[in-house]
């Protein structure tokens, strides 16, 4: 059986800057895979390439064996890639429920009517927002907006879920809740790729991870081994978050 996601020598540059430099990796089904690296190393760009927000200059990305690189973002979403954004992006004119509904109407799930409302309510409960369906998202705290965004992403029942620093900006108690939530999603059998600066979370959650630096892969493998690697430590030197 083919990997859930496979990335082969993918490259993306912005003018002279090579943000992703011939990166290759594979993520197995059901795996919780970490993508780490110092600021500006190309992590978000990599997620943008997978989700189709950006098109790679070279290389290939496959979802369960089928090529998705080159497709428009909405087609990739329909094939089963969902994401959250580094700076939370909710739909400001709507309440929490409609924000979540947005994820389940246009993908392969294609729900409408009572079923859709029910799913949104269920997912809001899953992320810890039971009973908050009709709160306008703009009236919510940052972490609650992040929860809404996460619920919207899983509403499409994605094959692969991309999280871009979903835990960033949470206080310690929120962080514990957030880690538990991601763990629960993973236990449901979802394939998740998470970009994260919070190393504790990577250690707790991920089996394998990949370290990027200046667009290149500098190390990939089991988390414990990767995080103690001298080159990885060096790459992170001077980066406060490490």
């Amino acid at each position: 059986m083919s990997a859930a996601l496979s990335v082969t020598t993918v490259r993306k540059s912005f003018g002279g800057l090579v943000a992703v430099n011939d990166l290759s990796f594979e993520v197995e089904r059901g795996e919780l895979y970490g993508l780490i690296g110092p600021n500006g190393s190309g992590k978000t760009t990599m997620l943008n390439l997978i989700s189709g927000a950006l098109q790679p200059d070279a290389g290939e990305i496959k979802l369960a064996g089928a090529t998705i690189s080159g497709l428009a973002a909405h087609r990739i979403a329909r094939l089963g890639v969902a994401r959250t954004f580094q700076l939370v992006r909710v739909l400001p004119s709507m309440d929490a429920e409609r924000n979540v509904m947005a994820g389940a109407v246009f993908g392969h799930r294609s729900l409408w009517g009572a079923e859709l409302h029910e799913l949104a309510r269920e997912l809001l409960a899953l992320v810890g927002l039971r009973g908050r369906e009709h709160v306008p998202v703009v009236a919510m705290t940052y972490i609650d907006q992040k929860r809404v965004e996460l619920a919207r992403a899983i509403a499409s029942d994605p094959q692969v879920l991309l999280l871009d620093e979903w835990l960033a900006g949470l206080n310690p108690s929120e962080l514990a809740i957030g880690i538990e939530l991601i763990e629960r999603l993973s236990r449901q059998g979802r394939t998740i790729i998470m970009v994260e600066h919070v190393m504790d979370a990577i250690r707790t959650l991920c089996g394998r991870c990949l370290v990027m630096s200046s667009g290149r892969l500098i190390k990939e493998g089991g988390v414990a081994e990767v995080l103690s690697d001298p080159e990885v430590v060096r790459a992170y030197l001077g980066d406060d978050d490490a």
Binding site: R89, L91, A102
Partner: protein, 323 residues
């Protein structure tokens, strides 16, 4: 308690009542007031159709005159060949096709270019029609002879307005409407939710253009004599934008709030200051953009929200005191 109608049908029911009442007008007057009512209903249809697309997408289209003029010309050219309803449908189809091409060519580019492109397009269509008319006919205009009275035109426009509102109401309840709302909030999020944003915008632009084309077809008999400068008059495009923005485009009935007072004032201005009409339009436009960026309905909404906030705040305070 059993209610006569479920909530969601209350607004269309009210709308239907208003339309029926409005339809009685020609029984009472067939002069000044009917003429004014024709203008109001015409712009109600045009502005609401325009806002079907421009409201949710925030793209300002100045192609209204092109769609409108094509509808007018469908009637002017086909009047002796085909039955009138067929010509109206033809006007809608031609306008929709043009909207489809414009959409495919421009909706991927940013909003500013879209405005300029649509303005240029309307002018181009007008020039092409003028050129073709000079080349293939000896006259600069076309005569449109029908048996329609002003009242007939009024009723047809009223029916068109009802159709536009019904369409808008149905869209708002559909996946398409939900998708447009998401696109209006955040286009990137919309795409990652699986929405084909470009395609939906084109579909909506075509629907909007089709209705505008129909309006142009229906009023064609009113002109008697159709020529490019009147059928493709760019003022139509600008007036539609001004009235729709004056009313506000967040709600389906928003543009109507702009159309009614504006048409009445314009009637007054053009009767009393016929030479300064454009100056007045210009000033009104500035005032709207400056004082009412979200239109009258947007302003009302803000005021309501503020009132609700203060009332819940005072309620909360009372609860706290009680506890």
């Amino acid at each position: 308690m059993t209610r006569f109608l479920p909530d969601e049908f209350r607004i269309p029911a009210i709308g239907a009542g208003v339309i029926v009442l409005a339809a009685l007008l020609p029984l009472f007057d067939d002069g000044f007031y009917l003429a004014m009512a024709v203008n109001i209903v015409l712009y109600a249809a045009l502005c609401t159709a325009w806002a079907l697309f421009s409201g949710p997408t925030h793209y300002i289209s100045l192609a209204t005159a092109a769609f409108f003029g094509l509808g007018t010309y469908a009637v002017a050219l086909g009047n002796e060949l085909l039955p009138f309803p067929l010509l109206v449908a033809l006007g809608a189809a031609i306008a929709a096709v043009l909207a489809g091409f414009v959409g495919a060519a421009t909706l991927r580019i940013s909003g500013v270019y879209f405005v300029i492109f649509t303005l240029g397009l309307a002018e181009l269509v007008r020039q092409i029609v003028s050129w073709a008319q000079v080349k293939w006919s000896t006259r600069m205009g076309l005569y449109v002879f029908t048996d329609f009275t002003e009242a007939h035109i009024y009723w047809m426009l009223l029916a068109l307005t009802a159709a536009v509102f019904l369409t808008g109401w149905l869209i708002n309840r559909s996946r398409l409407g939900f998708a447009m709302q998401i696109i209006g909030n955040d286009e990137a999020v919309a795409r990652h939710c699986g929405i084909d944003t470009a395609r939906l915008k084109i579909i909506l632009f075509m629907i909007s253009g089709a209705f505008i084309g129909m309006a142009g077809a229906i009023v064609a008999p009113r002109y008697l004599y159709v020529a490019p400068p009147s059928a493709f008059n760019p003022t139509i495009s600008f007036l539609v934008v001004i009235m729709a923005l004056l009313g506000g485009t967040r709600w389906l009935w928003g543009p109507l709030v702009g159309v009614i007072p504006f048409t009445i004032v314009m009637e007054f201005v053009s009767a009393n200051f016929p030479n300064d009409t454009s100056i007045v339009i210009g000033i009104v436009f500035l005032v709207i953009v400056y004082v009412l960026p979200d239109g009258v309905t947007g302003r009302l909404e803000q005021l309501l929200a503020r009132m609700r906030r203060t009332s819940t705040a005072s309620k909360a305070a009372t609860v706290k005191e009680a506890a």
